[in-house]
Amino acid sequence: MSAELSRRGLLGVGGALVLGFTLPLRAQEAGQSATPPAKAPPLPGSLKTTPELDAWLRIDAQGAVTLFTGKVELGQGVRTAVMQIAAEELEVPMERIQLVSGDTGRTPNEGYTAGSQSMQESGTAIRHAAAQVRELLIGRAAGQLGLDAGSLRAEQGAVIAADGRRLSFGELVTGLDLHVKAQPESRLKAPDQFRVMGQPVPRVDIPAKVTGGAAYVQDMRPEGMVHARVVRPPAPGARLALLDSSAAEALPGVLGVVRDGSFLAVVAEREWQAIKAMRALAAGARWEGGPGLPEQRDLFATMRALPTESYSILDKNAPVPGTAKELRATYTRQYQAHGSIGPSCALAQFQDGVMTVWTHSQGVYPLRGALSEMLRMPAEQVRCIHVEGSGCYGHNGADDVAADAVLVARAMPGRPIRLQWMREQEQGWEPLSPAMITEAGGKLDAQGRIINWDYGVWSNTHNTRPGPAGNLLAAQHLAEPFTPATPRPAPQPAGAGDRNAIPLYTFPNAQVMHHFIPQMPLRVSALRGLGAFMNVFSIESFMDELADAAGADPVEFRLRHLEDERGRAVIQLAAEKFGWGKGRPAPGIGHGFGFARYKNYAAYCAVAAEVTVERETGRVRPLRVVAAVDAGQVINPDGLRNQVEGAIIQSTSWTLYESVGFTPNGLTSVDWSTYPMMRFNAVPRQMEVHMIDRPGMPFLGAGETGQGPAAAAIGNAVARAAGQRLRDLPMTREKIKAAIGV
């Protein structure tokens, strides 16, 4: 059992870490590679790619349930949510469910845990699988009891007859073959019958996290574990020319230095010894070369000068005469970082020809593919097991540190290698969120309606995940390096740089262009929301600018252009709970509003914010934030609220403070003093998140829905408090002071 395995590994109980067991790959692999039969109706969620019921849940003779998901816990509460879904549809108490997640040896391949898709994909698959297993158990009980299945009900892990006879799931499951394909239709419970779904069930992972339990990959401490650290080049592209490792190797506890081309690492018995050896090794390394980065002050001019591939993603033409006013605006955003509080970490062990890596990657299967390519090993001999790390918010250093760890483990067979990045490595080498430029143009008629909308977004890719080995940092540094994949734009409607570039509002004429920039001056990838953060910020800022030009209230102006009823409902709810339009804010205080439906097909979110701007310092203080969310059927209302609260604070921090610093010689933001983020003194005084529950409606991903609307609400509130519109993110104190002429 993986849970037992990791517990033994974590506590170091019972001697050596159990690694040499036979991987139960066969059934899983068969399941994953199976494709649904042609012409069959589509299976729900991830059952499409993994249709066998026993790939998702199994029941033992004692009635204990093991649930499998390919999605992983990132601090977003997914473990609790999928357990709630299974408990609901299977009719078992949650305590009887054990969850296995993100393990290439055991769980379905569900790609990445990203894009707010866990509930639609894994949650939907588990819901249907659990409902179908429940019906199979009821059918079996009907046969054994000689009763009609319709007269039986499942409850608390048993099937119960009207006359009171009871057969436990443990009794029923013996001989029942769950290695069968799921059916397209399931007998799902009606929302009015829900006992667990829709309830604020406490998160299963929190008790360990607040009592010092082993909760993270950083906390693993298997018998015989040693510590490794990497030495990175001083700048991207620099190559290791000369190395004198003698000083490092002479230090106490040092077990060895691993070098392959420009990949450099050191291993020591103890962690502090490894850190000291890393410093000594860095002092003995001479690097050369490395292409210059742009000057930061020229960033947006540099981006505009790069070649682009331009795509029209919306072209709607119904000419309307009578333009009364015309507006144009350009918005920009600097590179931003994931900035996980815990630097990336992995534990790897190479034993008996099998490489096992414990990783906080968002995608264990894609990582396995990349690692096996880099190591030139068959995928079957590489196993990736997810263990939680610090919050990731997208493609951070998790995959790269796993690559570092396996390279060290390969050089030291048998020893479990724990490798954690230092703060400056996390900050200096994680793939960043790309800098972006947007341009918006709009025409208003005499009645104050938008009759033409014209928008363009310039961006790099937002996805350089592995996949291919060349997307791993270490693989690019090897003596025989792997080349990063050629970036491609992602198709609409999800998009990437152009995510949410198409407004949900209805305009008679609308043109939206995606200007994709293939060349990447800095290494970039996915950060929570991808382009949606900047596009929603831009669209919603421009809506406010147009509302002002039309002399309209910003909320009324949005409703004037929005037909989507669920969108209108969240806007109206946020405005009502905020008390929008009731009284004029005092001088120096501003109210702002922002709205979007994430990806135009996931959760709806509207945010109203009140901020104050100190004229003398340019400092922004958010006072009050009120959000309204429609995420379809809510599985765990407290979990959803926690996600949206977090989105609002994180997005506010991006909006007000965060900018990666660089010079032609490399990155200059390498810690929390050079990359400031929000601290407690700037956190809003009050926050409310209101939900519109939609029982029985499909789950709508909500993990990223708040990022754009929160940024827009803060930006619009700052514009009103400062009396000046800021269009360049982040809205730092210096920029605000310059804008208001202090």
């Binding site: 996290k209 609260e645 601290r679």
Partner: protein
Amino acid sequence: MVNLKVNGQQHSLDIDPETPLLYALRDELGLNAAKYGCGLGQCGSCTVVVDGEAVFSCVSPVLLLEGREITTLEGLGTADAPGALQRAFIEEQAAQCGYCIPGMMMRAQALLRANPNPTDDEIRSSLQTNLCRCGTHMRILKAVRRAAGLMQRADASPTPATGAVR
């Protein structure tokens, strides 16, 4: 040998005296709560309490800590018998990824020992040194306020509190 008193227990450790306390706690004593975040005293995820004061264990060499009372989050209770602060964080569900939370809790512990009934501004000002990237701040503030209430009730009760906080 370096002698450290952690959560009431004496330990003799054969380690480099300049080793930061963080690594002694995690690697020598197997305590998970204090976390490596920056190694620079900028984020607070390594915070522990030494003689009643919150300190950054990542920049505190063990040789300076001999003879001092070191308390980590493990010293406040367990998952089965959580202390008041731990109960408050569970009841408020005050974590997302949770990596920063032990440091937040130890800083709050030092605050509440010195000031059992802090104002909202005092809590914010105390936690200013600690970073949370998930944006769990509103819940952390609520949890610290709840913990203050739980601790006061425990102090006021005629029988000793069962939790390890004290």
